[in-house]
Symmetry: C2
Subunit: 505 residues, 2 copies
């Protein structure tokens, strides 16, 4: 009997590994689309991706797979829900049930439209003209509504979409979290505004030749543990991290010759994502035990390197002299303290990816609210730019001056990713809570970081988070690692402590 | 009845177009493998490609496809064998019958081994150590023998493999052609050796910064008509051209800072291939009416731009001043005539892709003979390097000094391409014959080229060759365009005329 279960389990794994070969090929089509595909190839790329998405969807929803999962779910192999077998069966079943609800034609049409959407978005952004993007956005919102309705939900459409990125999370809980954060952050922001401290940030806007930025980025990524034997770094309009196989994780960034943080923190951020992917158990690649848990946990890994490490005084104690030696003209007259203050300055600005750690969460709140309006047809597409700008004025006190720095700044919607943004805020919460625990566990983390010894911290992440794949849900993991459920407290403490010191609150 | 045929034909086309979506995706996996894949990803890439090759093979050999083709072959739709419908059915049937003979497992294993082989070959070449490549080469030769035996042949194994690259061609005819060429070329080579003329080629070995070479390459490719909206140019160890969709043709080159011709003529060559692909009828992409005829015809299109145009006095009359302005230090003191002589110098050298137009065909003869020995087990793999060097000594009077400039110089065998090399020599013959006809048709081609007006010549190629897809076989096409069957005469005349003038024979 148990031998039979084992055979069924092996067949399941083989089938899913074959699907993973196609999924990773699909990722390559997407990576190439963003990094170097000739412009005229966009339509055909949409067809290539739609066709492959169709094949993958058929494999994922094959009734044979359902039969195997049914048999295995009650088997002794899965007695322990956190075991590799238990995880593979449980999570595969969850995905199977979700995918079965989606018609193949919808999956293909969404894929095709997303490629077209990203293409149109790029054009719209370059020409600063929202109307170029309107038709695809309209189509995408319609398709995502269909998707949500096909999946089903008890409370609101948004729940059905959020679940794809953050399993077990709900809109109501996210709303609570984001509003709770706002209640703490808006007064903190006010205190900062009222403080007498002014921080000089001009040093970040000097001239930083792109080639040198590229070299520094590569060096920093390598230092913290991104393995270039198993990855690469490219340039794109919108930075991202993607995996194309167990030994192939690729990150991208963009460069602004007159603003260093874009690529510097961008590379740290994407490297954090990549280190998570590279830290998964290769043996289970393509199966839930070898896959990342949720985008919230994924984001915690990028934010922890970008912020808790990358914007710490310790990090720059070690690395600032090197940065000065690469950019002597720009940084020769700047002290470590001035630099540290500059990269931690808090100022409402229109661009999310360049936002400080405090206002960042308000950027997310705005998107979270707007995409709910879109999905419920509570805002017309043509009114979206104004709705966007109004919210910026209301929450951040600034009004974007152009569509490119307003509603067109993010790639997500153009690729059909609605329900994705809240995972960024969740990532911030997770990262603060994980970091606090790592500090306790590792003892003198500050000294390690200042000395450029990132291995103990990275290994801590690997041991506590990466290697488990999906053996624990996000909620279970945070409790298992830190001893308590997800809470605001660590993020607020971290932000308040840092701001108090820098702004003398 | 005829309506039914039309329906069947449409179904056939739809199915083949879907297969083309996967074939072009397969090409992207291959392109990425060569251009930028992280080193550690090679094994998994082999699995991705093998799996996709399996899916493609299943689609290509589906008995439903066979039924449709059977029905259509005798239908009135195909009454005219050169019509689009006639061509699609005839050529699809030919391919179907070939693919049906190959077991899926062999196709997958060949794909996997080819990826591994290319990886090993790169390592072997970098380390100049043939033994690193031996195991994959041994395996590949064995698999290709299996392939040839599965396909079947009347005369020799080589026929079965050659047919993949040059349909309707035979080993015996190729042997005749290459030996006929040798009989004419060896005495011509001797006359050149005996002449009093010495050509100064040092100007080609000066310093040519890679970034500038890249810029010139892009400019030249664009000038002759490579459309960068539908393509790109990258750097690889071994240059190639590949298509990833109807609007996505990619070429690669390599750069030698101290030898200009590598990239200069390399880019012209690959652009010629790409212009052929870009000149196909987009409407029939993925179907034989929208595909290239044979590698021999493909090679004629690269050689015609590289040699008949790119090594002509007319071309450099127009472009040399620009080249001097890009590389003033290297070329300021060089006259147009000296440069023209330098790029047309005839000297036996060990590297095929850098060979002059006369000795080039002897390089091909060597490979053609060696791969027959390999397939017939008439040479042991470990003796291959010596066999290679011996043939170079015998045919060209030189002995390669290292494995990298000897048996390891070409990528082809590492990717399982046996039977491919003769198409290079065929391409030389076709190109000379086509070019002679284009000169007659276009009137003052020399003046057009000198003025940088490449459009009439490119359009002549498009109209006479590219747009027909596979509506004519290579043999039919050359007769249709030039009024006579393929002959040595044009190539020998062209080579002798040029050599006589330059060497004062």
């Amino acid at each position: 009997m148990s031998e039979n279960y084992q055979k069924t389990f092996d067949r399941l794994c083989l089938s899913m590994r074959e699907t993973a070969l196609l999924r990773s090929t699909f990722s390559l089509l997407g990576w190439d689309e963003q990094t170097g595909m000739p412009p005229a190839a966009a339509d055909y790329r949409g067809e290539q991706m739609a066709h492959l998405a169709g094949i993958i969807h058929r494999r994922r929803t094959d009734s044979q797979l359902g039969d195997w999962l049914e048999q295995l779910a009650e088997s002794p192999l899965c007695a322990d829900p956190h075991s590799v077998q238990g995880t593979i069966v449980r999570e595969s079943k969850r995905q199977f049930e979700r995918h079965r609800k989606l018609p193949e034609a919808l999956v293909m049409e969404l894929t095709r439209t997303a490629v077209q959407g990203q293409h149109d978005w790029q054009q719209a952004r370059a020409k600063n003209d929202f109307s170029i993007f309107m038709p695809s956005l309209t189509k995408l919102v319609g398709l995502k509504q269909q998707e949500a309705d096909a999946i089903g939900y008890s409370d609101c459409r948004y729940d059905a979409l959020l679940d794809e990125y953050e399993p077990w999370e709900t809109t109501a809980r996210v709303k609570n979290i984001l509003e709770g954060l706002r209640e703490e952050l808006v007064p903190l922001l006010q205190e900062i505004k009222n403080s007498d401290t002014t921080i000089e940030t001009g040093c970040l806007n000097r001239n930083f030749p792109v080639e040198k930025q590229r070299r520094v980025g590569k060096e920093v990524a390598e230092n913290i543990g991104f393995d270039f034997q198993q990855g690469r770094l490219d340039t794109t309009v919108h930075p991202f991290c993607t995996e194309i196989g167990p030994y192939d994780t690729r990150i991208t960034t963009r460069y602004d010759e007159n603003f260093l943080p874009t690529s510097l923190f961008g590379v740290l951020h994407e490297s954090g994502h990549a280190i998570y992917e590279q830290g998964l158990c290769k043996e289970w690649y393509g199966l839930p035990a070898g896959e990342t848990i949720s985008l919230g946990i994924h984001e915690s890994q990028s934010r922890i390197w970008e912020n808790q490490i990358g914007r710490s005084r310790a990090f720059w104690t070690g690395y600032f002299p090197r940065l000065q030696s690469v950019f002597p003209e720009a940084l020769r007259d700047i002290s470590l303290e001035s630099f540290y203050h500059a990269i931690n300055t808090v100022t409402p600005s229109p661009i999310r990816v360049e936002a400080d750690e405090i206002t960042y969460n308000l950027h997310i709140l705005i998107r979270f609210e707007l995409e709910q309006l879109l999905l419920n047809d509570d805002v017309a597409i043509q009114d979206l730019p104004e709705a966007w700008d109004d919210k910026y004025e209301s929450y951040l006190g600034i009004r974007p001056q152009t569509a490119s720095e307003g509603v067109l700044q993010d790639i997500h919607w153009s690729g059909g990713a609605f329900g994705y943004f809240p995972t960024y805020a969740l990532g911030n919460l997770y990262s603060a809570q994980f970091f606090a625990k790592s500090e306790t566990d590792l003892g003198d983390l500050t000294t390690q970081v200042a000395n450029g010894h990132f291995d103990p911290f990275r290994e801590w992440l690997r041991e506590n988070i990466h290697q488990h794949g999906q053996c624990y849900s996000a909620g279970e993991l945070v409790e298992r690692v830190t001893g308590e459920p997800l809470t605001h407290r660590y993020l607020i403490d971290y932000l308040r402590t840092k701001a108090s010191e820098i702004y003398g609150l």
